[in-house]
Amino acid sequence: MASTISRSSTHAPGPRTSGAGTSALLMSTTAKLRGRRVQLVRQATASKSVRDVLVSLAGLTGRPVLNPVGDEVGRVVDVVARLYGNEPYPPVTGLVVRVGRRRSFLAATAIGQIHADRVQLKSARMDLSEFVRRPGEVLLGRDVLDHQLVDVDGVQVNRAADLYLAPVGGRVLLVGVDVSLPTLLRRLGPKRWQTRATPDRVVDWQTVAPFAENATDGPAEVKLNASRSALHRLRPAELADLLEDLGRAERQQLLAMLDPAHAADALEEMEPAELENLLREAPPESAARIIEEMEPDEAAEALRDLQYDEREQLLTHIGDDEAAQLRELLAYPEDTAGGSMTTTLVTARREQTVGEVRAELATSAEHRTEIDAVALVTEDGLLLADIPLFDLAVAEDRTTMGEVADWLSQFTRDEAVAATARLGEVAERLVSSRASSLLVVDEERRPVGRILADDVLDYLLPARGRLHFRRFLQ
């Protein structure tokens, strides 16, 4: 993302801060902004009124805490916010304050106002207690600032250069994350620069998936977060890119936020080497669940890269049927049709009508990418013909499959390949038959799987040219 484009804003409501109306405004603005990547009105956040309301977390740390009279009673060490709650924007629940040589917790209720360069207390009395992390709470300065997070809207992994707090209706909320490089320079500069918010490239907190360490300690339901649903809107390839960019602990956290089916789709898109690492680092149970959800050919491919003991460990956690199927695939050498095929097959008999087959196809929607033809077989399961979906789509409902096959046989030849055929050979056959997939058959010409053009492409193409460190080591 070029730095000139400033996506989404912090929606700090500006100077007209007042109660419930404000949060309605806040919500509607966010709703409007989410889900698009546009050149955003820079003035919205860069305008002075907004900038004055925003409090920079980096600037606030180390600043004085003043009692109503204006005397300094302590210094801000960190800000505590409930990151994993039901609120769209995490509310600040208190401050970690250094009083004398002691660090203690100051609840949000005692805070009168948070300014960019000081914190004003409500009353002269100050209740200090030991800081104990409650479920869903994190220390923003220690756990979020300078750490990785996923910007779901912009689909990239960023490091939080600064966090912006804003007072909204009597509370202080964490509204946005600054991800711009100039902000880093500001923080490197003299102290008086620190408090000035520079909301140039700010990501709305609602579209951020943070990975605060220990932040997910609480009960499982508090992990539910607005950004989680946003994560599920990402395309598998985008998620794969994000996973590849994250650190080890962070990627496991992100994986845990996804449901296995969605995670499986993303993993199928990952670079083999990255996928190998991911599976090896994940707890075996969850890795096994994801593998179960993957298409069999992709799952076998992923397992093949693991070492023998790792593979066996995962297979024991996978359901018996799936495990047996995967073992069968793994038995074929990698560069043969059998080693790269998918075992997801739709078969039909001659006497079935096109309508029946279409109805059957409708039930396998989740395998849509794996099915592009229907195998016509005899009673004994021997292959008769491979009928592309196109021909099924244009045929009449009452036509039998046998008739379609007979009609097709005038133009096409049977192009099935043996499970032991080398992928190079398969590629040639794909090119010559101009098909997007080929059936794979065993010695008795029973269909055992299907090899898709993209499986062959995966094998033939050199690794994608990402600017990862790996490239420089090779």
Binding site: D146, L278, E428, S433, A463, L467
Partner: protein, 450 residues
């Protein structure tokens, strides 16, 4: 089977018929070749996994570049065998430091740049990475100076070769064919494996060698301190720790494989230092005691026992290969570490629009390196000078490394044990002490004292 052959032939005919004028055979013929390349990569990765050429080995041996050769050769010619014991100490330091770096990478799964950003304040991060950038730019200068010196041995003036070389390296990395070029450079730099042979054929005084390896010869002489700091700088270069950690992270090795990773790092460090020692001994045996090294041609004399009259040619060949190899890797690894700390990990594309920060850093280093290398300074002095700069910066980076590996909150049970902590601290303090002495002597020298 016959059916298949039939349909395959028919298919080929059909394809040829479908695309008249095109050459389907050439398209089909390309397929198996591509297949072989990917298979080769898998095999190479397997070898890497076993640890034959792990990141530790690669990182440590990257130290034997143009500036490294110049520094070791200079040590041999100026002090004969006098620096050998010191090199043994440096070997120990390198082993320790590389082990800490790969341990951080293996157990946190993060590069050093990211770890420093997360564990230290932003200003401390700025300091560490600023130092790394400075040191690496110095290294890039030395790599281009090395390319220049190599070509000068072949009779090509350096002003004619450095600009096109910089442009070529920059272009190769940015426009993608670097990986193939890298293999050529790598093979070229293997020439330096001639040093062990040259050492034996040069018939050094083995008794003296043995004695100097175990008996300390430490002097407060300014020249000695300067060279000692350069030796530290070239052997324990700051970028190597970043490189080794990133390599381990990138391979995503299992933590239970850590003993393997550690073995790789230790063997790599020892191996690299052994090569360095043979360079010192080989040079000492041929031109030892003739005072400071004057030119690349002097350094090439050490290879005469092997190559005779062709020594200069051989040396030039190796120098160009090693320099070109490091000339791209060094600025890339600095840009990578800084990009990681700044949070612009996502440098997916190689276009300036998508990864402006990463690629500007890379470009700036190459540009600056090439310009400084063009200045008409004596090349050997320039090479050693950049290594002194490295030596001065090394302790700064080592302090970060030490603090990080001491942190139990970060590494848990794998943090430095109390005993390890003491040893590592002594090493870091020792390295820092050498740099401080050099700094103080230099500053005093400016004021005419000492």
């Amino acid at each position: 089977m016959t059916v298949e052959t039939d349909s395959a032939t028919a298919g080929t005919v059909a394809a040829a018929a479908a695309e008249p004028g095109a050459a389907p055979t050439s398209r089909l013929a390309r397929v198996p070749v591509l297949g072989r390349i990917t298979r080769w990569n898998r095999w190479a990765r397997l070898v890497a996994l076993v640890g034959v050429a792990g990141p530790g080995l690669v990182a440590a041996n990257a130290g034997n570049d143009a500036a490294g050769i110049a520094t070791y050769a200079s040590a041999g010619s100026q002090f004969v065998y006098g620096t050998l014991f010191f090199m043994v100490l440096v070997t120990f330091a390198l082993v320790l430091v590389q082990e800490m770096a790969v341990r951080l990478g293996a157990f946190t799964g993060k590069g050093l740049g990211a770890l420093i950003r997360e564990q230290f304040s932003l200003r401390a991060t700025g300091l560490a990475l600023g130092c790394l950038l400075l040191a690496n730019t110095g290294l890039v200068v030395s790599e281009f100076a090395g390319i220049g010196a190599g070509f000068e041995l072949l009779g090509v003036p350096k002003w004619a070769i450095i600009p096109p070389a910089a442009l070529l390296l920059w272009g190769l990395v940015l426009f993608g064919s670097y990986r193939y070029a890298e293999r050529i450079f790598l093979v070229m730099s293997l020439v330096f494996f001639a040093y062990p042979i040259a050492m034996i054929m040069g018939k050094p005084h083995w008794g003296d060698v043995g004695k100097n390896l175990v008996v300390p010869h430490l002097s407060g002489d300014k020249d000695f301190i300067l060279l000692a700091v350069a030796l530290i700088g070239t052997t324990v270069s700051p970028y190597m720790q970043f490189y080794a950690a990133a390599g381990v992270v990138d391979r995503g090795t299992r933590t239970i494989d850590y003993p393997l990773i550690r073995a790789d790092a230790v063997i790599g460090a020892v191996f690299a230092c052994t090569i360095s020692l043979t360079i010192i001994i080989a040079t000492a045996a041929t031109i030892g005691g003739t005072g400071p090294l004057n030119s690349a041609a002097d350094a090439a004399k050490a290879l005469q026992p092997v190559a005779g009259a062709n020594a200069e040619l051989l040396f030039a060949f190796g120098l160009i290969g090693a320099s070109a190899l490091a000339g791209a890797v060094v600025p890339l690894s600095a840009s990578y570490a800084i990009g990681e700390a700044a949070g612009v990990e996502r440098s997916v594309s190689r276009s300036f629009r998508d990864a402006p920060f990463f690629l500007s850093l890379f470009t700036a280093q190459i540009l600056l390196g090439a310009i400084v290398a063009m200045t008409p300074i004596d090349v050997i002095q320039l090479l050693i000078g950049t290594q002194v700069l490295q030596g001065l910066i090394t302790p700064v980076v080592l302090v970060y490394l030490l603090i990080l590996t001491n942190r139990r909150s970060l590494l848990g049970a794998h943090a430095n044990s109390p005993r390890y902590r003491i040893v590592a601290t002594v090493v870091v303090v020792g390295v820092a002490l050498m740099s401080t002495i050099l700094l103080v002597e230099t500053v005093l020298g400016w004021f005419g004292i000492g």
